[in-house]
């Protein structure tokens, strides 16, 4: 585990060196522009739009980083042949994967926390004070981070057995499908054959349900998120990441790196 921690720390350092945190500048500019402009062009939604826009930006920036850097975590090491030097040391392949995952999640956590702080500052500027109910924004940010961790795990899994381009397509595809799990559940099963209905039900339960982590609307309207949901979503993300990372570790350990 200590070896995985070292890999994680180096992954974080590498991400910082790769100027991943520059996304914060974009976020800051976007939020400042929104804070000034929204009040001029709309009615009564200053706070709502600041929260929706802030959380959407955190999510979009996070998803882009998770997918593109997540996929490159393994493939870059292989392209540069640094992986071979690393695996020649007493580091197991699963430890390497876990470290890479931890490093990128740490990067995302720092990035997301900084953006959340920026969002709260803009809210303070717009509202002139923060209330207890505004804490729901932090819950929404936490859920986004859980979602990003799951995306990183998926990106890692796909990058273990296919090309970077396909891994990106698979990850993005699964992410989008994961947003429509509820739609899948709402399909009219009455008109399907029993086998198809069973398959749809089975699929809708097993696919990663990214809609679970979406509380943006609640945050925008200052509505509290139940504590049970926070716990359930945390467990869901931990269990799902464990499954995906285990699968990734199995695939990666069997991969012929010659």
């Amino acid at each position: 585990m200590r070896r995985a921690g070292v890999v994680a720390l180096n992954t974080f350092r590498e991400a910082v060196r790769d100027r991943v945190l520059y996304s914060l500048v974009f976020f800051a500019l976007l939020m400042m522009a929104a804070a000034v402009a929204v009040g001029q062009v709309s009615i009564g939604i200053e706070q709502t739009v600041i929260v929706s826009l802030g959380l959407s930006a955190i999510s979009v920036i996070g998803v882009l980083i998770s997918v593109f850097i997540g996929v490159a975590l393994v493939s870059k090491e292989m392209d540069k042949r640094t992986l071979y030097a690393l695996l020649a040391k007493p580091v197991r392949r699963w430890e390497f994967l876990l470290g890479k995952f931890g490093g990128l999640v740490l990067t995302l956590a720092v990035n997301t926390a900084a953006m959340a702080l920026g969002l709260l500052l803009v809210m303070l500027y717009v509202k002139h004070s923060l209330e207890r109910s505004d804490a729901v924004v932090l819950v929404a940010v936490y859920f986004i981070l859980l979602k990003l961790a799951l995306i990183v795990a998926l990106a890692l899994l796909f990058s273990c057995f296919t090309t970077p381009l396909l891994a990106i397509l698979f990850t993005v595809g699964l992410y989008i499908v994961g947003l429509y799990v509820q739609e899948l559940r709402d399909l009219p099963v009455e008109v399907m054959s029993p086998a198809m209905a069973a398959f749809t039900k089975w699929l809708s339960r097993l696919l990663p349900n990214f809609e679970n982590f979406n509380v943006m609307a609640m945050a925008a309207h200052g509505r509290a998120v139940p504590g049970a949901l926070i716990l359930q979503n945390t467990l869901y993300a931990v269990v799902y990441c464990t499954i995906v990372l285990t699968a990734a570790a199995v695939v990666f350990s069997r991969r012929n790196l010659k």
Binding site: I43, T48, V49, S52, F210, M216, A217, A220, H221, R223
Partner: protein
């Protein structure tokens, strides 16, 4: 070294000149396009459900964008004095489907829809539909019942339903006490000056938007004019009783001691007596145009 200097000079020359040319060209293109194209409003996707599905997880942000589009669409039409607001309903439909908890869109949307042209779309039926949808999504929010009562009272003149809406709203958490009083008053009296004044005053006091505030102020001013003219007509009747003929000018009522001076409308313009002997707004008063405009679309 020399070539670098040349490049720098070329850049210094080309960039400002180039962008200045682009600036002018764009003006020319804009003028050409404006002459070629007619004004075209369009909502490409009219299904709120489809827009919601396509919005991935960003429906609340998209709802804010659509709401801003509603405000801009209504504002542009309003400024140009255009009565055709046919896209208002599809835009509001999409906004509220994307975010059923965006209360402001129900409240202001209903106002934009219900009022007679040119202040609104003149579709109180759609306003009722919008508010009822809002109530379904936010059953505990009493202000939506107030808005429903408002539309029934002013635009549909359906006083029993207005009273019912006020009463229902009065049972909700945090509802103001006057909701119950209003329910009883509207049920008993129907249309009344005091009720109208109170409702517009509440809109005036509670709205955060300057244009809605201005609209409420205009209605309050016109209501005041209505009340003043009614009183002046009563005094003219009194004058007719005393002198056997109606006064031709308000100054005659002043001379008869019925008035202390010539009264003015809320903008300070003196009232006049029309050819039929009834009190009315001065021809110079800006309120006259507004009154005629509202009466024309009633």
């Amino acid at each position: 070294m020399k070539s670098e200097k040349t490049i720098a000079w070329v850049l210094l020359l080309v960039l400002p000149l180039g962008f200045a040319a682009i600036w002018r060209l764009q003006h020319g293109i804009d003028a050409q396009r404006a002459a070629l194209s007619q004004e075209r409003d369009d909502v490409l996707l009219r299904s709120g459900r489809l827009v919601k599905i396509m919005s991935l997880e960003y429906a609340p942000l998209l709802a804010d964008i659509y709401w801003t589009r509603v405000v801009q669409y209504y504002g542009n039409k309003h400024v140009r004095g255009q009565a055709n607001l046919e896209l208002l309903w599809p835009l509001l439909d999409i906004t509220t489907t994307l975010d059923p908890n965006l209360l402001i869109s129900y409240r202001f949307g209903a106002m934009f829809l219900s009022q007679a042209a040119p202040a609104g779309a003149g579709r109180p039926d759609l306003a009722v539909q919008l508010i009822q949808r809002g109530i379904q999504a936010n059953p505990e929010y009493w202000r939506l019942y107030e808005d429903l009562g408002f539309v029934y009272y002013f635009d549909l003149k359906d006083y029993p339903k207005a009273a019912e809406a006020f009463l229902e709203g009065s049972k909700k958490p945090n509802a103001q006490l006057w909701m119950k009083v209003m329910a009883a008053k509207v049920a008993a009296e129907g249309d009344s000056f005091a009720t109208s004044m109170f409702l517009w005053k509440d809109i005036y006091d509670s709205t955060p938007d300057p244009s809605v505030k201005k609209n409420a102020l205009l209605h309050l001013q016109l209501l005041k004019v209505r009340g003043d003219c009614k009183q002046l007509d009563a005094l003219a009747d009194e004058y007719a009783k005393r002198y056997g003929k109606r006064p031709a000018r308000i100054s005659q009522m002043v001379q008869a001691g019925l008035l202390r001076g010539i009264p003015g409308d809320p903008l300070g313009f003196a009232y006049i007596l029309g050819e039929n002997g009834k009190a009315e707004l001065n021809l110079d008063s800006p309120l006259l145009e507004q009154q005629l405009l509202l009466d024309r679309f009633k």
